[in-house]
Amino acid sequence: MRKLINIEVNGKAREVAVDVRASLLEVLRGELELTGSKKGCGVGECGACTVLMDGVAVNSCISLAVWADGRKVTTIEGVSPEPGKLSDVQQSFVDSGAVQCGFCTPGLVMAATALLGEQPSPSREEIRRGLSGNLCRCTGYSTIIDAVENVAKTRGQA
């Protein structure tokens, strides 16, 4: 069973005929060729597939693609201000040494982007809580928390 859905993906209106059984992650990585969002666990535990739906962080692996109908979806490909540039969150991950293998990074950048949208100056404890839906097997997390803290500080000074 296919259904025609209208989604705004990273600012661009798209019309896609999706299999109703497909996850949003499958449609993003497949039909839409946006392979930045990763599949780690496929069951909502790791956060590697995190995207924003109408600005809210969701696990795209356990979201049906049809649920994105009429919504705005932002993926890691959509966070940078222009091609070739990084968003301040992405840059801060690089500067803070928060990226090792990088598999968790797209999801963590999306979760951090959502968190900073809701709480512009979170405490380290609030950052931990805001990123608790994302696993990283490499870094040990403290550089990731630094990265988010640094964005908040820099934005606060601007």
Binding site: S23, G44, G47, V58, I62, L64, G133
Partner: protein, 292 residues
């Protein structure tokens, strides 16, 4: 790709009830955070079904305060919505605590309170809290809406009192359920996020000076379904609040519950939690430092 047959959304709840009634193979899906996980492990209950989505039904996610003081929560309201809602923050902050203890942010954005109840798990964080609030459920069906108490809704692990064609529409907490009460929820889990409760303890307490006028205690994972501690509640009424009384309440809670061994924790450890968490939850409710 998930292994189900079809997906449909209805324009309103009557149409959704109609879709369900017309098709014995139809099943409800809300946020999908239980259903899709079960489908991944090929749970017979969901493989090959025709899904009817309920989260976009108008009004299903609304939270409102009625003129008579009843708090009405749409069954498809997400945990995040409950956590951030002004009515809940003002009148039922302990429910915001319980909702805030679920999963991580992404799960709280997708999972719904109705799904938490209808899924029938004893560990459901909002179930024990709502049970302590004497919540009632509005269930929509072919014959119209009926209102039933949450107490008795859970029939066994994963089983609730919903017939095919019925949709949980609203959760209601009447004024008598919360007015004058302070509430607290303690989720004891091994990790501070993304973990299922080893034991959940919810209390609603009404004080008269330093006397306990009324106390309601509900547990998750202290038995096959979320349950109330009736004899502990009866004992607590009229007692002067002090450490000895809280300890005695804890001992009574052991009589009211039926903890078991599981891979998450041994029975003896759960019993220890059952005897100490109510006291901590009461302290937390009354503004002390009761956090586990």
């Amino acid at each position: 790709m998930y292994d189900f047959a079809s997906y449909t959304e209805a324009a309103d709840i009557h149409e959704a009830v109609g879709l369900l009634c017309a098709n014995p193979n139809a099943r409800i899906i809300a946020g999908g955070t239980d259903v899709l996980i079960k489908l991944r492990s090929r749970d017979e209950a969901f493989v090959g079904r025709d899904f009817v989505g309920v989260t976009r039904i108008p009004g299903m996610t609304d939270i409102r305060l009625c003129d008579d003081g009843t708090i009405v929560i749409g069954a498809a309201a997400s945990f995040a919505k409950i956590e951030g809602d002004a009515v809940i923050a003002q009148h039922l902050p302990s429910l915001a605590q319980a909702a805030g203890s679920v999963g991580g942010p992404q799960i709280r954005n997708m999972g719904t309170v109705g799904g938490n109840l209808a899924n029938g798990a004893t560990s459901a964080d909002t179930a024990s809290m709502l049970l302590a609030c004497d919540a009632t459920l509005v269930i929509a069906g072919a014959q119209g809406d009926t209102e039933v108490p949450l107490a008795g809704f859970h029939q066994g692990p994963g089983r609730v009192k919903l017939e095919h064609g019925q949709i949980l529409k609203e959760i209601r907490v009447a004024k008598a359920g919360y007015e004058g009460y302070k509430g607290g929820y303690i989720k004891f889990a091994v990790r501070r996020a993304m973990d299922i409760a080893t034991l959940g303890c919810a209390v609603m307490i009404k004080m008269d000076g330093d006397r306990i006028e009324d106390l309601r205690i509900a547990f998750g994972v202290a038995g096959p379904v979320p349950l109330r501690a009736a004899s502990a509640e009866a004992y607590a009424k009229g007692q002067t609040l002090c450490d000895e009384v809280l300890e005695q309440i804890g001992r009574k809670c052991l009589e009211d519950t039926n903890a078991r061994d599981s891979w998450r924790a041994a029975k003896a450890f759960r019993q220890q939690l059952i005897s100490v968490l109510p006291g901590r939850a009461v302290r937390k409710a009354l503004g002390g430092d009761g956090d586990a």
